[in-house]
């Protein structure tokens, strides 16, 4: 129970190679004069990074407020994401300087645009930066506090930390529910500042939760294959896949209601958002987004035996990471570079970010015991029987 994750030397060196590839590609992108495209890629990957972290932390908070027993052995995995959140903040700082390159509302000619002038009390560079820093500070404070309390629980035991974590999780959910709306509007929706949708931030939130749950599932399965979490059973795997299944439906619903309202409303200011995505070269990605993120997990995980199979779940996780990339690509790229561009900059930047995420996540996991041994519901988690079913 007390075992800590051991990060092998070769893993660290591979991740450093990936990060180096990322840095080289980003530098090459700037040197080659593709400034806007490189900044857009940085925004895309930063947002994907942040979505996964916030989604994972939301997953953890949800387990705490519902007092879930089955997940008590796995709470250390989302807790480790608190360190990734710090890195996400550091990665976000360069983007503050990229606002004039990426956002139409921050360009000098925006002062001649009546709509943007009307929006300028909200959409101006200092206010956007202040909001972002305040939200990061709140998230970091709550996430680190929960992580510390969970470690204290390991040493002292008792219900004190458990009750405090539950309270802080309620605060975190409240804060996140409000702040992610503004983050979604400021950093993604305002790329096309004439267009707006009140459903957009809900979709951002569900997408973050969805892909956060996906990453946690993938991490549990990979660590189990490496010999950690010996108590993992099919019952646990089924619960993880239920999360993915439920959230795929939720995500599809949010995607579709936004589309449907704009479709029936048929107002030119709104349809322009989908026009560029359906007619402007993004058709394939537009359909791939909904099929990979909704139709694939919905039909694949529907089968009971697949839903409990570790390898099938791992495959779903990989597909959904691609799905999330396509989703954010579709949100960021049409408003910044206005055409589909997929080349070495996109691949290299993604590789760099993936390496950084995995390295920080692994080191952060290795610092604490993998199982919260004094969690009050741990017994319930270990008791989940492995019931073999015949079909």
């Amino acid at each position: 129970m007390d075992s800590k994750l051991k990060v092998s030397k070769s893993f660290i060196s591979i991740m450093f190679v990936l990060i180096a590839i990322g840095i080289i590609t980003i530098a090459a992108g700037f040197i080659a004069g593709d400034g806007t495209r490189t900044w857009a890629n940085l925004l895309l990957n930063n947002f994907m990074f942040l979505s996964i972290v916030l989604g994972g932390l939301f997953w953890m908070a949800l387990q705490a407020i519902t007092q879930s027993g089955w997940s008590a052995g796995f709470v250390r995995i989302p807790q480790a994401l608190a360190v990734n959140l710090m890195i996400a903040f550091i990665l976000w700082i360069p983007l503050f300087f990229a606002i004039p390159h990426l956002f139409h509302w921050a360009e000098p000619e925006a002062v001649h645009d009546a709509v943007l002038v009307h929006k300028s009390p909200y959409l101006n560079i200092p206010f956007v930066i202040i909001r972002t820093v305040v939200f990061f500070a709140l998230w970091l404070f709550l996430a680190c506090r929960i992580r510390k309390l969970s470690l204290k629980e390991d040493e002292i035991g008792g219900f004190d930390s458990f009750i405090k974590i539950e309270f802080l999780s309620k605060v975190f959910i409240f804060v996140l529910g409000i702040s992610i709306v503004f983050v979604g509007i400021d950093w993604v929706m305002s790329l096309e500042p004439h267009w707006f949708s009140t459903l957009f931030s809900v979709k951002i939130f569900v997408s973050a939760f969805y892909h956060g749950a996906v990453i946690i599932t993938g991490t549990v399965i990979i660590l189990n294959k490496l010999g950690y979490f010996p108590f993992l059973t099919k019952a646990h795997l089924h619960n993880f896949s239920k999360y993915i299944f439920m959230l795929s439906i939720m995500w599809g619903y949010m995607w579709f209601i936004q589309y449907l309202l704009i479709w029936y409303g048929n107002i030119p200011e709104e349809t322009v958002y989908y026009h560029i995505r359906r007619e402007g070269g993004f058709q394939g990605l537009f359909l791939a987004e909904i099929f990979i993120n909704w139709a694939f997990p919905f039909l694949f995980l529907m089968w009971n035996r697949i839903a409990k199979n570790a390898n099938a779940l791992l495959f779903t996780v990989v597909v959904l990471i691609v799905g999330q990339y396509i989703e954010i690509f579709n949100e960021v790229m049409p408003g910044t570079i206005h055409h589909v561009a997929f080349g070495f900059i996109e691949i290299g930047t993604f590789i760099g970010y993936a390496g950084l995420f995995a390295l920080i996540f692994a080191i952060s996991l290795s610092k604490r015991p993998l199982v919260a041994k004094n969690h009050p519901y741990l017994i319930e988690c270990l008791k989940d029987e492995d019931i073999e079913e015949e079909y």
Binding site: L260, W263, E389
Partner: protein, 173 residues
């Protein structure tokens, strides 16, 4: 039907009845049925019950989706195309009707299949071994097999009592 050939173990706790079923399965006792006021998921697995109902529902749902799409395509693209605001005829807005009618088709046909397969119809008298299983009691039913004598039956009675049965009755329903 004077000989009372069924044992009814009455329990009042869902966790106790699950453990008792586990214990009975371990002793190779053949359980005929378990009656409970609400579904007990582990009992389902322990009794190794099988059903093809989910597959039937999936097929009904898929047929519903396909036929509704075919109908919508025929009405709004083939037979009577109307252009609204330059939008394409064959559109994603079909999804709403497809979604709703998939659920309708899945539910209605599954219910019909259930009623036909279980031979249930209005006014049918369905005998319950113990009426309290509709209220707050959990009942394990064990039928006397051809090769079981009274001695075996008494042993099962003992086993049920050891595992927390509040009452052990005989019945012939």
């Amino acid at each position: 039907m004077n000989n009372q050939n069924q044992i009814l173990g009455v329990f009042d706790d869902p966790d106790v009845v699950t453990d008792a079923v586990k214990e009975l399965v371990k002793h190779d006792v053949k359980i005929k049925d378990v009656f409970s006021p609400f579904p007990l998921e582990h009992v389902w697995d322990l009794l190794k019950l099988k059903t093809r109902m989910p597959y039937a529902t999936f097929i009904y749902g898929a047929l519903g989706t396909a036929s509704v799409f075919a109908f919508l395509y025929w009405t709004s693209v083939t037979d009577y195309p109307l252009t609204f605001g330059g939008k394409p005829h064959n559109s994603l807005s079909f999804v709403v009707l497809m979604f709703v009618l998939t659920i309708l088709s899945g539910v209605v046909f599954t219910l019909a299949t259930l009623l036909i397969r279980e031979k249930m119809w209005p006014g049918k008298n369905n005998p319950l071994p113990d009426h309290r299983s509709m209220d707050d009691k959990f009942v394990i039913v064990i039928e006397q097999g051809r090769d079981m004598d009274d001695n075996d039956m008494n042993k099962i009675d003992e086993l049920l009592k050891q595992n927390g049965a509040v009452e052990v009755n005989r019945s012939n329903v």
